[in-house]
């Protein structure tokens, strides 16, 4: 029947009885949807300790983690979470920090900035964590940062490279390099190593990270004497890039710079090849995920991206981390796992150095970090809370990212 029928007295009774059922169904949907977005994971659950944040504050050190365990870029959050969990497990097995174990409380943000803000707020206000860890994506760290500032809780973003994440903030730190440097790294590599002069850019216009990185690349590349022949954009979640790529093809570039996330890059690479272009693609650390090769397949062979670390680095710190990570999770860690690991260890190191759980003291210790030896390089915080460290350029060969070059700051 259509809804066009008249609502006479006969229909009334049927309609009434159906309303509460409909309402309860909607409510049920909402409850299930909400239940899906929240996951607690104690990296180490000590028996007998209270689960409420407030009561256990005296005995445990609490790390609050916001991660994209679900959502479009779920491997980012899963890698970060595994890296942090591994670091905390190792620290706890070695006796904890200041004689206390660390417990991680993780909330999923479904890959959304608004959920990240909500999760950060909950960690800070309800769970009263000592340190806030997260996020990978700059858009989501930017949503968390004001909450850390407002409540005076030190926050470490493992992998957000957009400069605005820490800019002008007292409480926010990161363990990765920033995009002005990363953009320059790829521009220098393209100009000096590959000798390219004509490059096209395809950026994700809805992503702070991608837009920022594209701008820094364009500036550096033009400064070095190259030309950007076409500057196109897409939105994350798009599946068809042929129109943009047709425009790019008409300009006949020698390479295409795509500073997006791995989910889109794989599809873009395929469509580049389908349109008959054989130029290499170039990108940033947002490419780093095993899913990239699954979706992109052979279309990515010979492409380059800048990253935080290479699993081929022979340094014993790096190889030891890879071996332990492999043992725990059965896969080679990507850079986001390595950065998560570094972020958790940096937080523990800061607490140990200052010998206090006072949030202001932890903040001070983080700000004065000198020569902290991490998996992704040696971290010394500058005045803007950004570590100064080198980047690597990786080349994709046989569906794996192989080391091509290190570029110092």
């Amino acid at each position: 029947m259509t809804c066009r029928q008249s609502r006479g007295p006969l229909d009334r009774g049927v309609g009434r009885s159906a309303i509460p059922r409909g309402a309860s169904l909607v409510l049920l949907c909402a409850v299930v949807a909400l239940a899906g977005c929240e996951r607690k994971s104690g990296a180490r659950s000590a028996p007998g300790l209270g689960t409420g944040g407030g009561s256990s504050e005296a005995t445990e050190i609490l790390f609050g983690e916001v991660a994209s365990l679900t959502g479009p870029e779920a491997t980012f959050g899963q890698s970060q979470s595994r890296g942090i969990a591994l670091a905390v497990k190792e620290i706890n097995e070695a006796g904890g920090v200041l004689g206390r174990p660390i417990r991680v409380i993780t909330y999923d943000n479904q890959g959304k900035p608004t959920e990240s803000a909500a999760a950060a707020h909950r960690l800070v206000v309800r769970d009263r964590v000592h340190v806030l860890l997260g996020e990978v994506a700059s858009s989501r760290s930017l949503a968390m940062a004001p909450i850390a500032e407002e409540h005076g809780v030190p926050m470490i973003s493992p992998a957000s490279t957009n400069p605005r994440v820490t800019e002008g903030r007292q409480w926010v730190f990161r363990t990765c390099f920033i995009d002005p440097f990363q953009g320059r790294v790829m521009a220098r590599f393209a100009r000096e190593e590959l000798g390219l002069t004509r490059v096209a850019v395809l950026r994700d216009v809805r992503n702070d990270y991608s837009v920022g990185l594209a701008n820094f690349f364009v500036d550096a590349f033009t400064e070095l004497g190259g030309t950007v022949v076409s500057d196109q954009s897409y939105s994350a979640g798009d599946i068809d890039f042929r129109s943009q790529l047709t425009e790019i093809r008409a300009k006949n570039p020698e390479a295409i710079y795509v500073p997006g996330y791995y989910t889109d890059v794989g599809l873009i690479a395929r469509q580049v090849r389908e349109l008959g272009m054989n130029v290499p693609l170039m990108g940033g650390d947002g490419w780093d995920s095993s899913k990239l090769y699954e979706i992109g397949g052979d279309a990515l062979e010979g492409s380059f991206f800048s990253n935080h670390y290479s699993f081929e680095n022979p340094d014993p710190i790096v190889q030891g981390f890879i071996a332990r990570y492999r043992e725990a999770y059965g896969e080679v860690p990507d850079a986001l796992a390595a950065l998560g690991y570094d972020a958790a260890r940096l937080a523990a190191d800061a607490i140990a150095r200052v010998g206090s759980l006072e949030r202001a003291a932890i903040r001070y210790a983080l700000a004065t970090t000198r020569e902290f030896r991490g998996v992704t390089g040696t971290i010394t915080m500058d005045d803007h809370h950004n570590p100064v460290k080198p980047a690597v350029v990786l080349k994709i060969r046989n569906r794996a990212a192989t080391f091509a070059r290190t570029i110092e700051p």
């Binding site: 029947m1 066009r4 029928q5 959502g71 491997t75 954009s233 047709t246 425009e247 989910t263 389908e274």
Partner: protein, 300 residues
């Protein structure tokens, strides 16, 4: 000029996908005056059924494998469509329209959230297996058409012709149009409205599944949230063509696909989505009934 024709080809192959999804929206609206937001999720489930079937049915070789996967996914999603109708919408048949609309949103979110649980599909994107070889089919003066683009456009057109025959040249089609025209009177004439509505959901969902498979083939990244943006675009296409009208959905889908391709080609690629949704606003302001809304009295 080469670019123009390449944009034309790109736009048509994307537009045919929008059109297939839009048909499901428009058919359900035609008989129930309900915007079935869960339709985008049926499309997503269609792509995932194809993904799982392709990995469970390795015995079939390339050619028939595509057709087997396509028809089985269509059958599975037809079933899913009926289940959604039976349990979410039928109990609300006589309650205010708003209740059904909110329920549709709830069902949509429910399927999306459940799909992201690791036990089901998990949140990470999957790679859709290549069921058909993808190579350049023909290339005239720099304008390339791939086999997949041809298959997408061809399958979409065939399915739309089939649907058109079903609706306008069969007894079921007549019953469907009768229910759409006036459900109560159709009931008095001996038409089982519930059955017609269930069948409408079956047909619409099967078309969504076909769109899911075609999208998976051309854009081999599938994930539980893939229906959101495409579903929204298809909805815009249905409104543009005149929601409730089958020809309108086909024309609307093609139009949105072409306009998007041209907007990126000759305007700015940043405004791609803005153009699609801008069209929706313009349609709602100047011709709320859509392109075919008034020209054709008979709605499906």
């Amino acid at each position: 000029m080469t670019e123009f024709f390449q944009h034309l080809v790109n736009g048509l192959s994307l537009g045919s996908v929008y059109a297939l999804i839009a048909l499901g929206y428009t058919m359900v609206y035609g008989v129930l005056q309900l915007i079935n937001f869960a339709h985008a999720e049926v499309f997503m489930l269609g792509a995932f059924s194809g993904y799982y079937l392709a990995s469970w049915l390795p015995a079939f070789q390339r050619g028939p494998r595509f057709l087997v996967v396509l028809s089985l996914s269509m059958a599975i999603c037809a079933g899913i469509g009926v289940v959604i109708e039976r349990f979410a919408y039928r109990p609300l048949r006589n309650s205010p329209r708003l209740n059904a609309l909110i329920t549709a949103m709830g069902v949509s979110m429910l399927i999306q959230a459940i799909g992201q649980l690791p036990f089901f599909m998990g949140p990470s994107p999957r790679f859709f297996p290549p069921l058909l070889p993808n190579r350049s089919l023909l290339s005239v003066a720099g304008v390339g058409v791939t086999t997949l683009q041809a298959v997408t456009l061809g399958s979409a057109v065939l399915l739309m012709i089939g649907l058109h025959r079903l609706v306008f040249h069969t007894r079921f089609g007549a019953a469907m149009r009768a229910v759409s025209f006036d459900g109560r009177t159709a009931g008095l004439m001996g038409i089982d409205a519930n059955r017609v509505i269930a069948l409408t959901f079956m047909v619409g969902s099967a078309l969504a599944a076909a769109a899911g498979i075609l999208v998976g083939l051309s854009y081999p990244r599938i994930e539980p949230t893939m229906g959101v943006l495409l579903g929204l675009k298809a909805f815009v296409a249905a409104v543009l063509g005149g929601i409730g009208n089958i020809r309108g959905a086909m024309v609307g889908g093609m139009t949105i696909g072409l306009v998007e391709a041209m907007a990126v080609g000759y305007g700015s690629s940043s405004y791609r989505d803005a153009v699609a949704f801008g069209i929706l606003i313009l349609v709602l302001v100047f011709k709320p009934s859509g392109i075919f809304g008034k020209a054709v009295v008979e709605k499906v």
